[in-house]
């Protein structure tokens, strides 16, 4: 089977690659096109992007610092920074959704 791209997104509150992940998402295309039975994870798979890089993940996007103004400097919205990592894994047969 061919190798296809899996994506791991680490969400952080500073843009640095050694910043702790506070939220995370797996998009494992090698396993299927969606998540049908979500399994809770209390800890991220890696504490930060650098630890993931040491396990073979490649950084394909890191965040830039944001400019702040008097208007939005205190505003709260989505988590401000993210690192997108990729790894190629062998394509697997997709399991059927039970829902």
């Amino acid at each position: 089977m061919p190798a296809v791209q899996d994506i791991l997104v680490l969400f952080q509150t500073t843009p640095a690659l050694d910043s702790n992940a506070v939220a995370w998402a797996h998009y494992n295309a090698s396993q299927g096109t969606g998540v049908h039975d979500f399994v809770e994870e209390s800890e991220p798979p890696y504490k930060n992007a650098m630890e993931a890089m040491r396990d073979g993940w490649q950084v394909i996007q890191m965040s830039e610092l944001k400019h702040r103004s008097n208007d939005d400097g205190y505003e709260l919205g989505p988590l401000p920074y993210q690192t997108v990592l990729a790894k190629f894994n062998e394509l697997q047969q997709e399991e059927e959704s039970s829902s």
Binding site: V9, F11, Q12, T13, T14, S19, N20, V22, A23, W24, A25, H26, G34, V35, H36, D37, F38, E40, E41, S42, P44, Y74, E75, L76, G77, P78, L79, P80, S97, S98, S99
Partner: protein, 270 residues
């Protein structure tokens, strides 16, 4: 009413974390009757924006539940007297129904300051972990997002979920990030949700006897695990809401970060 109101420390916890949990809120026989009503009539809208007391059905289990003195005290503490009915739904995750990440914020983005709607969530049966009780992200209520776009956050530090005995009620700020979870049991999982709006400023509707308790500052400063570098900015939002609900316009904690906005001697000269 007075005996059933929230304490100031509980109110501070609501301001900091966006939710409170109360076990043994609804007696077992009433829970069972509510469950039957939920099975028959799952969701819908009544007259949105009308007085709750006039609109909410009487002579039914769900009608009686939300009129229990302990529930009325809770409602009064947060949205005052004479709240408006806004929305209700019996949420069902069927036996063996699997769910995805599902993180979302209800309704639509809401920028209103010195204001919050509440949602009451009743779990009418025992809801163990494997049954997939609703999850919440404590403290997320100050973040402006558009409904389901936060589904990108599959996992988040600090996430909690309802694992509780029958009769437990959660009350939460409508803006708290949350979602449903997979039900790995052979029983359907129900949760009944009711949203209410205030009709008056939400100021000192709770029991203020412990308003000066120094622990309140610590409660407002709670770190839920996901805030990281944003914690100071979260704290400023909590302080702003605490000032309002407690009617203490100069309240601040620790380094008093609100001074970075408010201390401007040049303006007082003019």
């Amino acid at each position: 009413m007075k005996d059933n109101r929230l304490t100031a420390k509980e109110m501070a916890q609501f301001v900091a974390s966006g939710y409170l949990k109360f076990e043994d809120m609804v007696p077992e026989d009433l829970c069972n009757a509510c469950l039957e009503e939920m099975r028959q009539n799952s969701r819908g809208y009544l007259a949105v924006g009308t007085p709750f007391e006039d609109t909410w059905p009487k002579g039914t289990a769900l009608g009686d539940t939300f009129r229990l003195p302990q529930v009325q005290g809770l409602i009064h503490s947060l949205v005052g007297s004479d709240p408006l009915y806004d929305h209700h739904a019996a949420h069902l995750v069927k036996a063996r129904q699997m769910r995805g990440a599902d993180m979302h914020q209800d309704s639509v983005i809401d920028f209103r300051e010195n204001y919050f709607d509440i949602q009451l969530s009743l779990f009418p049966t025992d809801t163990p972990d494997e049954m997939g009780g609703t999850f919440l992200i404590p403290g997320s209520q100050y973040r402006n997002v558009r409904t389901s776009e936060i589904g990108i956050y599959h996992h988040m530090r600090g996430k909690i979920w309802a694992t509780c005995p029958a009769g437990t009620m959660y009350v939460w700020n409508t803006r708290v990030w949350h979602g449903a979870r997979s039900n790995h049991t052979d029983q359907d999982r129900y949760m009944y949700k009711l949203r209410l709006n205030p009709t008056q400023p939400q100021v000192r509707n709770f029991d203020t006897a412990d308003l000066d308790d120094p622990e309140i500052g610590q409660i407002l400063s709670t770190n839920h695990g996901w805030e990281g570098n944003e914690h100071r900015y979260e704290l400023m939002q909590r302080v702003k809401l605490w000032r309002f609900v407690s009617d203490q316009p100069d309240y601040d904690v620790g380094e008093r970060f609100m001074r970075r906005i408010e201390y401007q001697p040049s303006k007082s000269v003019a």
